[in-house]
């Protein structure tokens, strides 16, 4: 028994890796479609956007790169659909250097989107008037403070090299305080900066959508009301997709909703692995392993 325990406890990582691979692959090919519920932190964010009126301006900060595409990009696409459907005007920017590629692609995809009847409902939207993509600028906190004083000063030109000063959208909302909220979709720690350097200074609501990994650290902000909504990870994005009703818009579940089964399978495997490891650990208690609390 002790030998078995030793073998199990020192299992080659590659065996674990293979099982993880299978747990993801099988549900993707044969989904089982578990139902899920919408959590209040996601609903709060959705409802804030839903409560805005046609013509209102919001800031979407796409602070995620291609590496976090799976978790964050579906959220961006769902949000753009929600905005354009309601006539809300997004000012999109990104604070990380590998952000513009995806932010631009998502925007173009949604603008070119065709519904079931072949109509293109967002075709008439104009850059600079109904939306604007400002692109990337280095500086992080400095940019947040900068747009608090004026968008056009910080971003003299947009991503398409158009002068921003002439844009109607910035006549209505020349600075951060004139917008209705900041929606930060982040795979890096920028929400920590958006609150003190951006939204608290401008006195506007903040919604954070982040990778699941950083969600726990933003709960204090949600609890304190500094963040109106908190959309964490693929599950949060799937919930948002269901609120926006992406299935009705595009005819099939959004990418986040589709991935949730694989998610469940891996979680169950990891928990089983932890339980098995602990059973054998108790059997083989004499040999402590490395790692642990400082």
């Amino acid at each position: 028994m002790h030998n078995l325990a030793k073998i199990i406890l020192n299992l080659d990582r590659r065996i674990i890796y293979s099982v993880v691979m299978l747990c993801v692959a099988i549900p993707l090919i044969r989904p089982f479609g578990l139902p899920f519920r919408v959590t209040p932190e996601v609903r709060d964010g959705y409802e804030l956007i839903e409560s805005l009126k046609e013509g209102d301006v919001i800031v979407i900060s796409c602070d995620y790169g291609p590496s976090a595409e799976a978790e964050t990009h579906p959220m961006y696409v769902a949000l753009l659909h929600q905005c354009f459907r309601k006539g809300i005007r997004p000012v999109i920017l990104t604070l990380i250097p590998d952000g513009p590629g995806l932010a631009n692609r998502g925007l173009e995809d949604v603008l070119a989107y065709q519904d079931a009847e072949g109509q293109k409902p967002y075709e008439h939207l104009e850059s600079g008037k109904d939306y604007v993509f400002l692109g990337f600028k280095t500086g992080g906190q400095a940019i947040m403070i900068g747009i608090g004083q004026g968008f056009t000063g910080t971003f003299p030109t947009d991503y398409n090299a158009q002068e921003t000063a002439a844009m109607p959208i910035f006549r209505d909302a020349p600075k951060l305080a004139d917008t209705k909220c900041v929606f930060d979709i982040a795979s890096v720690g920028y929400p920590d900066f958006w609150i003190p350097y951006g939204t608290e200074r401008a006195g506007i609501p903040f919604i954070v959508s982040c990778t699941a990994v950083s969600a726990p650290q933003y709960y204090p902000y949600y609890a304190a009301g500094q963040a109106t909504g908190l959309i964490g990870g693929m599950k949060g994005a799937a919930e948002y997709e269901s609120l926006v009703d992406m299935a009705a818009i595009t005819g099939s579940d959004g990418p986040a909703t589709k991935g949730l089964d694989a998610q469940s399978a891996v979680h169950v495997f990891i928990i089983l692995a932890i339980i098995i490891a602990n059973i054998f650990y108790i059997i083989d208690r004499r040999r402590p392993l490395s790692g642990g609390v400082a």
Binding site: R13, I16, P66, G139, Y219, K235, I274, Y281, V293
Partner: protein
């Protein structure tokens, strides 16, 4: 000369640091103009120049490796080659509509490199975490002590509570496992994170004060 080397940086740090600190309390226009100048121009230019220096350093590192035929120099050739191709693609395939942030031309070589080389490499590197986290959980989540057990139990509850399966595990009273996961996130987690946050903020204030008053001189590279 000594003044330029030692005193001047400290004086500059004091003036700029104190200025930007007190600026926050002054609503007057001059004050926000100063802030704007620093954040929109100075900080951006300094960070940009530093990046250029960094790129020079990296190129030098690989160049030396190739020149001296150090172990693995072939990979440095690949790195430098990829660097040059990307650089040329990025600076020449862009539109040139005057100065200012320019548009990445759709369909350009640079966009193609971004979409088909950079993106998959970054995303795949990141996705390796799925494997690593499974093996880390397997090895590290062991009930070694009371604290470790708390970590383990909280981890398992949240893991189950945050996927659809958790909503299928009832706990009576109309609650299910995802509610417990929600409570853990919102209450004990928020409390601990908040306490850590307060400590970190105070440390940051302290370190900022040391920098402004010239006590902390790490950025000068220690003593001279």
């Amino acid at each position: 000369m000594m003044f330029l080397r030692k005193q001047l940086p400290i004086i500059l740090a004091f003036v700029i640091g104190l200025g930007l600190w007190l600026q926050a309390y002054i609503p007057h226009r001059t004050s926000s103009a100063g802030l704007t100048t620093f954040t929109q121009s100075w900080a951006v230019i300094l960070a940009g120049c530093a990046l250029l220096l960094g790129i020079l350093s990296a190129v030098h590192h690989h160049w030396t490796k190739i020149k001296l035929r150090r172990q693995g120099f072939a990979y440095s050739i690949i790195t430098l080659g990829a660097f040059v191709v990307t650089l040329v693609a990025g600076l020449s395939w862009w539109n040139w509509p005057g100065f200012g942030a320019a548009k990445m031309a759709d369909g350009s070589l640079f966009t193609w490199i971004f979409d088909n080389v950079f993106t998959p490499l970054a995303a795949t590197m990141f996705s390796l975490l799925a494997f690593f986290i499974a093996s880390a959980a397997f090895r590290a989540f062991r009930a070694r002590s009371f604290e470790a057990t708390a970590l383990l139990i909280a981890g398992c509850i949240v893991m189950l509570g945050r996927v659809p399966i958790g909503e299928l595990i009832p706990l009576g009273g109309g609650h299910d496992l995802s509610d417990v996961a929600g409570w853990i996130m919102n209450v004990p987690n928020a409390a601990a994170q908040r306490a850590i946050l307060v400590g970190v903020i105070l440390s940051q204030v302290a370190i900022s004060i040391r920098i402004i008053f010239g006590i902390e001189r790490t950025y000068m590279g220690g003593s001279d």
